[in-house]
């Protein structure tokens, strides 16, 4: 198990940090979050063309960098830190990982190069309006016919669903239940019978959509009715990556709170000299460092395909949920009234913390999943 980043990984991190400091200042975030799609096509091409982020964990044979989840974790951690407005998590993490886990060789060769190059923006549509993140909650049906399938039902909370070209969709054989009968499908944005409705998101930097399927033609991805295992794996890996993204944001908040406290005076003293402020900052540091350790461990465990991997992914996501939100609340509090204003940047991260808290499942849900493994 890797507990320390290599020099190459540290170099990747510092390149990314500089790049996102340049390309994703909060003025850019604020501009993009007011747009409907929420991201900029030129920025998206820049990610691929200028810093070669195409397909971090996609094998080189499919046009990727052939790296692993530790590197992908670094990328999303830095994106979370800079609150980069991009379909990266939807396309390069969720959809790409689903294809890597589920698709056959032909399908990989068909989809991955275009995903790695950024030509196709894809996303994963699996949760439904019931808001469940487990496969038991999937109600969408897939009826086979003529070598293809027809999908009926509604997907919700689809990340960048209103701007993606391609959907990876989880559906089940009519009459099946639980983890039985599940298959993954690909559906093009322009498929007849598909209605895409943007949702008003509390976090304007992360766009969500609802997708209504009425007899939409879809192509099978991977094995028929064999999606349970690859999907579970995809979800666990995505949770590990989301945890990384979240600790990136939490660390940035923590640093901004410290910076603010070190500049402002009240009652003739730097507010950073008040003991309650010092203790709160110490607690924040502890919490963020612990959540980082969990996220890093989960990423390394994903690469090692460690036996405890799904459990530690749940652990990392639960820790990140609690820590990111708590750090955001503390950061607002440390800023005082200023921290509650629109012009102060803290609320941008607060809202990301809030949406990330429940995206892919809240802390209690992940803890329950985790304990099912540890206690087994």
């Amino acid at each position: 198990m890797q507990f320390s980043f290599t020099s190459e990984q540290e170099e990747l991190r510092s390149v990314l940090r500089r790049y996102f400091e340049d390309t994703s200042p909060t003025s850019t975030v604020r501009r993009l979050m007011e747009t409907e799609r929420g991201w900029d096509a030129a920025d998206w091409r820049g990610l691929h063309d200028q810093i070669g982020l195409g397909g971090v964990h996609v094998p080189e044979a499919y046009g990727g960098l052939g790296l692993g989840f530790v590197e992908l974790g670094i990328v999303v951690e830095e994106m979370g830190r800079a609150l980069v407005c991009s379909p990266f998590f939807a396309s390069s993490v969720l959809a790409t990982t689903a294809i890597l886990n589920a698709a056959d060789e032909t399908q990989k060769a068909e989809f991955l190069p275009k995903l790695a190059s950024g030509e196709t923006v894809a996303t994963l549509a699996f949760a439904e309006p019931n808001g469940r993140w487990d496969v038991e909650g999937v109600g969408m049906t897939a009826r086979p016919g003529g070598g293809r399938y027809r999908l009926d039902g509604v997907k919700s909370f689809v990340l960048d669903g209103a701007s993606a070209d391609l959907f990876i969709v989880l559906a089940r054989a009519p009459g099946s239940q639980g983890s039985q009968g599940l298959s993954l499908f690909t559906v093009r944005r322009d498929a007849p019978g598909l209605t895409v409705q943007p949702l008003a998101a509390l976090d304007p930097t992360r766009k969500l959509a609802r997708l209504a399927f009425e007899g939409v033609e879809a192509d099978l991805l991977g094995e028929p009715e064999g999606a349970a295992a690859p999907f579970a794996r995809t979800l666990a890996q995505a949770c590990a990556m989301l945890a990384s993204e979240m600790v990136g944001g939490a660390e940035r908040l923590r640093e901004s709170a410290l910076e603010y406290a070190s500049l402002r005076m009240q009652f003739g003293r730097l507010i950073s000299s008040f003991q309650s402020m010092k203790h709160k900052q110490a607690d924040m540091l502890l919490e963020v460092e612990l959540a980082k350790s969990a996220a890093y461990y989960a990423a390394a465990a994903a690469d090692d395909d460690a036996a405890d991997f799904p459990a530690v992914a749940h652990l990392a996501k639960a820790m990140a949920s609690d820590t990111y939100l708590q750090t955001a609340i503390h950061t607002i509090q440390i800023h005082g009234g200023i921290g509650f204003t629109w012009d102060n940047d803290t609320h941008l991260w607060f809202k990301r913390a809030k949406s990330s808290e429940v995206f892919l499942g809240d802390a209690a849900w992940h803890r329950e999943r985790m304990i099912q493994t540890w206690a087994a």
């Binding site: 949760a127 808001g131 469940r132 993140w133 919700s156 909370f157 949702l199 008003a200 998101a201 509390l202 976090d203 969500l208 500049l263 402002r264 005076m265 009240q266 009652f267 003739g268 003293r269 730097l270 008040f274 309650s276 402020m277 609340i329 607002i332 509090q333 005082g336 009234g337 200023i338 921290g339 509650f340 204003t341 629109w342 012009d343 102060n344 803290t346 609320h347 607060f350 809202k351 809030k354 949406s355 808290e357 429940v358 995206f359 809240d362 209690a364 329950e368």
Partner: protein, 419 residues
């Protein structure tokens, strides 16, 4: 007059209202009638529109006015602070100029105390007022100013002497908000509402006779304002919207006035966390069957109930004439705990829906507004940290922190660089 019996008073008010109340009058004209009769502010001195009545007897007047559904004078919001300050510290000329127009609602007021960098410490004000050519010239920046965008006059705390100690170099002014050199900018909050303004002064002017109290005596006047504000805090935030509109021109004008005054506060109920919505929300989402969520709901309800009982205990002790116990000082801090716990529980109940706002969100966006509003409660009106300091020092009599801002001329007190 103060020996008036309750029945006699009630009869007098009743007959006066029968003779005078007409819901089709102009609001200002009606209020002037009330003021002239002494029923607008019956606890005020005879000389200033009042009748020197005790608060108990004044309630009789209010009851009768409410009973016939008449409109009262304007006594809410920052204008009530102006009234309190003018009564306590104003010169006769100031009272003459401002009191009546404040009661009729012709003048609206705002309070200009807080600044960037001294939100918790109004005595640290650095807005300056310099006496030049027979008038005061004001420059600086104020923050967290409710209603400044429609206020006619402001209650201004500004520094007039930089070589004195922090609390001794402040003076208190009445400033015309409708003049060049006063720029009001709305301050949008993270929940999208704009309840406050920032106000920039650039060589704005204050007439010499609009200084309240002595030069350098501003902190004492400000203390009156702050005490009055603290007392009014609860009722202020609680009024969530304009009252029912009754027929008649007077009511229509009063409702419009109230709607303007209350507009900044429409989201205030949400910052409390809305514990009242929890059980029904959990039942609707099915989370009421989840033992883990049930525990969190139970903790929240226990906390909210205990806080409510603590407040009732404090009121009962007060009513019984006992010395105030510690329980009265804790409500503000407790409200923060409740709001945070409630936001957590609402999130657990909403699950994935907690990501949605507006019409797509739970309860038509109300839950989302709660989630982005609760962070305010632990800050506004004194942060949790300040509340803990106050409890420790005033209730528990623990020593104050060392204060490097109290033992030297304000000029030498370390301050934040303006940003």
């Amino acid at each position: 007059m103060s020996t008036t019996s309750e029945e006699a008073l009630r009869a007098e008010v009743r007959s006066w209202l029968e003779a005078n109340w007409d819901p089709e009058r102009e609001l200002v004209a009606w209020r002037n009638l009330l003021i002239d009769a002494g029923w607008g502010a019956p606890t005020w001195p005879n000389r200033w529109y009042g009748r020197d009545l005790s608060p108990e007897l004044a309630q009789v007047v209010d009851q009768e006015i409410r009973r016939v559904g008449a409109v009262g004078v304007a006594r809410a919001g920052p204008r009530s602070l102006a009234q309190a300050v003018l009564l306590a510290h104003g010169s006769d000329g100031q009272k003459e100029q401002f009191l009546r127009r404040s009661l009729t609602g012709e003048d609206t007021w705002c309070q200009l105390f807080s600044e960037p960098g001294s939100g918790s410490d109004p005595a640290g004000a650095t807005t300056r007022a310099d006496f030049r050519d027979g008038r005061w010239v004001v420059s600086g920046q104020k923050l967290w100013t409710t209603s400044a965008h429609h206020a006619d006059w402001g209650l201004l705390l500004a520094r007039t002497d930089w070589d004195k100690l922090k609390h001794q170099g402040l003076s208190y002014f009445l400033i015309d908000m409708r003049q060049p050199g006063v720029e009001v900018q709305p301050l949008r909050q993270m929940n999208g509402h704009a309840s406050f303004n920032q106000v920039f002064f650039t060589d704005a002017e204050v007439a010499a006779d609009h200084l309240v109290g002595e030069r350098g005596g501003g902190w004492a006047v400000a203390t009156t304002t702050l005490m009055h504000e603290r007392r009014g805090f609860d009722s202020f935030g609680a009024g969530a919207g304009p009252t029912d509109v009754r027929p008649g021109r007077t009511h229509a004008q009063a409702s419009a006035e109230a709607a303007t005054a209350l507009e900044p506060y429409v989201w205030y109920p949400q910052r409390t966390g809305r514990v009242d919505l929890v059980l029904e929300g959990a039942r609707a989402s099915g989370k009421l069957d989840d033992p883990v969520v049930r525990q969190e709901i139970a903790k929240l309800l226990s906390l909210a109930k205990s806080v409510e009982w603590t407040a009732r205990r404090a009121r009962a002790a007060q009513a019984a004439g006992r010395p105030p116990g510690p329980e009265g000082s804790l409500g503000k801090l407790a409200a923060s705990l409740i709001a945070r716990a409630a936001a957590r529980v609402h999130t657990q109940i909403a699950g994935a829906d907690a990501m949605l706002t507006g019409a797509d969100g739970p309860l038509e966006g109300l839950i989302a507004e709660i989630l982005v509003s609760t962070p305010a409660i632990s800050i506004a009106g004194g942060t949790d940290e300040i509340q803990r300091n106050i409890i420790a020092e005033r209730v528990l009599r623990m020593p104050k922190e060392p204060s490097p801002d109290l033992d030297r001329p304000f000029r030498d007190v370390p301050r934040s660089v303006a940003t």
